[in-house]
């Protein structure tokens, strides 16, 4: 049996590839993609990292058996680079047609002739071939040891998500009366996409809780929920559907004996369970995977790797650091959410309130390049409490920072909309891809252009970008 795999590519590379394969001359063209690879329970995923265009007449010449072929020297050079960089070699060419594509007999013969030697050359990595039509892709991937994979879909990660398959999906899509009003906006196809989508919410505090409600009501089909905390009375004004019983308010109240307060805190509802309850109410069919831990655990990382989108609603810089690595390494887009309330240190007067929704995609919004992760904050979050106290670095406990549900709602709704229109492919190609800051005190919105740095370990040329399982993940062994 042939197993299936997914190919993932960022939009700018896809645009370059399409322009090269389909310049309007109706001819065949060639290229090589060097890709990362990672494993998920649903099958392997290839992440396109580098695109090398084969130059017609030099690397791409009339074939001996087929119509055109890539010159052996060019193939060997690219394959050696793949071996050295631990990337998967993928030969690319195109056929005519639009919505369906398949390898020709000549194509498949050339795999039989060429791939065994290529597999030897790349020393333990897979090699493969992709064939494109204008709106379709098929792939034949050979693994060391004789197994083969077919590419059953390619996801283009851009401002909007686009999926290419070997042939059109003829399944009928119906949404029913329940979703009638929203289907009028994004169609039964959009509703089916949402039902088939899998998202992660990291942090189920004020922002994450609202996201759970919004995304479940939209009809998102599968959730990964990550949070190590239980509900406390001071959370109740911000958590959807939370009650005094969830917080064990009567047991943890001030003045109760220590043992009772401790017991109450231990019996309080886990935030992931509260969110699961909220999701179930909105969508009884939703699949929910819960992780009662911080993000830096191997099972959490493995779960996040299976997601179409990650909502980063935890406050810690450690979580941000890890999220940024995953978004780039596995080409999983996401959004990081935060609220900043600044008070004058002298008078205590509020001088600035803003909420931020930062898009983090393989091609922009890197949290490292945009100073959203600080090595100093990473340090402080990684020191034991007693050490912080001894070194007198205690400057404000995050748990006691101001927090208001209406502010959380600003960034949560921005993020949920960003996801909705990304996932259904409706976001315009020229949509703003930076950070949106809402400033409710002066009723203004600020757009912050993202920056990127060539030397960045997550998004630069020498970085972990699209390398999949071949490079380690920060802070997770």
């Amino acid at each position: 049996m042939t197993r299936k795999c997914e190919l993932r590519m960022a939009q700018p590379m896809f645009d370059d590839l399409m322009a090269h394969l389909f310049p309007g001359d109706g001819d065949e063209h060639g290229a090589v993609i060097q890709a990362g690879l990672f494993q998920t329970p649903d099958g392997p995923v290839l992440t396109a990292r580098t695109l090398v265009l084969a130059e017609a007449g030099k690397d791409w010449v009339p074939g001996n058996r087929g119509y055109r072929m890539m010159l052996a020297r060019f193939v060997a050079q690219q394959a050696r680079q793949c071996r050295d960089e631990k990337l998967v070699y993928l030969a690319v060419h195109n056929h005519g047609g639009r919505d369906a594509v398949a390898f020709s007999g000549v194509d498949l013969e050339s795999h039989e002739r060429g791939f065994p030697a290529l597999l030897d050359l790349v020393e333990g990595l897979p090699v493969g071939s992709l064939v494109f039509a204008a709106n379709a892709v098929a792939g034949d991937i050979w693994l060391p040891g004789g197994a083969r994979l077919t590419v059953d879909r390619m996801v283009v990660v851009g401002p909007g998500r686009r999926v290419l398959t070997p042939a059109p999906d003829r399944r009928r899509t119906t949404a029913g009366a329940r979703y009638d009003r929203q289907v009028r906006l994004f169609g039964a196809t959009g509703q089916t996409i949402l039902a088939g989508s899998r998202i992660a919410i990291v942090g189920l505090g004020g922002v994450g809780s609202l996201l759970a409600e919004l995304l479940a009501r939209l009809g998102v089909g599968s959730f990964v929920l990550v949070d190590p905390d239980r509900v406390q009375p001071s959370n109740l004004p911000r958590l959807v559907d939370a009650t005094d019983r969830d917080a064990m308010t009567w047991m943890v109240a001030e003045g109760r004996p220590q043992w009772m307060r401790r017991l109450g805190a231990a019996l309080a509802t886990r935030k992931i369970d509260l969110a699961a309850r909220v999701i179930r109410r909105a969508n009884g069919n939703a699949h929910i995977e819960r992780h009662f831990s911080s993000m830096e655990e191997r099972p959490v990382v493995e779960a996040l790797k299976t997601c179409d989108y990650i909502f980063m609603a935890a406050d810690s810089h450690r979580a941000r650091r890890l999220f940024n690595a995953l978004a780039h390494q596995f080409l999983i887009p996401g959004i990081q959410l935060g609220t900043r309330i600044q008070a004058d240190p002298e008078t205590g007067a509020i001088i600035n309130v803003h909420t931020a929704a930062r898009l983090v995609t393989p091609t922009g919004g890197c949290l490292l390049c945009n100073q959203a992760v600080s090595p100093t904050r990473l340090r402080e979050e990684s020191m034991p409490k007693s050490m912080l106290a001894a070194q007198r670095y205690i400057d404000g406990d995050d748990a006691s920072a101001p927090s208001v549900i209406t502010l959380n709602a600003l960034s949560a709704s921005q993020a949920a909309n960003d996801f909705l229109f990304y996932m259904t492919g409706l976001t315009s190609g020229d949509a703003f891809q930076g950070t949106i800051q809402a400033r409710p005190l002066d009723r203004r919105v600020r757009l912050v252009e993202p920056r990127s740095d060539q030397h960045c370990p997550d998004c630069g040329p020498g970085s972990r970008l699209a390398r999949g399982d071949f490079v380690p993940i920060p802070m997770v062994d």
């Binding site: 100073q371 990473l378 106290a389 802070m475 062994d477």
Partner: protein, 136 residues
């Protein structure tokens, strides 16, 4: 210990060999590290000191600070040590069961807020701090 911590310690041992490098792993994957007989440079009355510091479970992603030195560390010309030198500390700081406690001078230099993300290994950070100290 986390892989990042092990790698940092390997680099420190490699650089400071044959000086003793003591390592005390912590429960959360970090380690307290103490290196003996490290030259501190001409501004100081002492030729060498031990250097102690904590490698967190975020190593090498986080900034490594502060560093701890012998408690009698002083300038050769008699000037007072000013901030970021802090006397009357101890290494390791906070609760560290099983690690011998040494009275210490603490030197706390945080990485400057650079425009871009800069990852500095604990060894490079220590060398930068020693260089800065040698210019007092």
């Amino acid at each position: 210990m986390k892989a990042g911590v092990e790698a940092a310690i390997a680099a420190l041992r490699d650089h400071y060999s044959p000086r003793p490098v003591h390592v005390f792993p912590t429960a959360c994957g970090g380690a307290h590290v103490a290196i003996e007989d490290v030259p501190v440079g001409p501004p100081f009355a002492q030729a060498t000191s031990w250097v102690g510091f904590f490698l967190s479970s975020a190593c090498p992603e986080d900034d490594t600070y502060p560093f701890f030195f012998r408690e009698d560390l002083s300038l050769a010309d008699g000037r007072e040590l000013m901030a970021p030198f802090h006397a009357k500390h101890s290494f390791p700081s906070g609760e560290a069961p099983g690690v011998p406690v040494r009275p210490a001078v603490m030197v706390s230099r945080r990485q400057r807020n650079t425009a871009c993300w800069k990852q500095e290994s604990p060894l490079l950070k220590l060398l930068a701090v020693l260089k800065w100290m040698s210019q007092r």
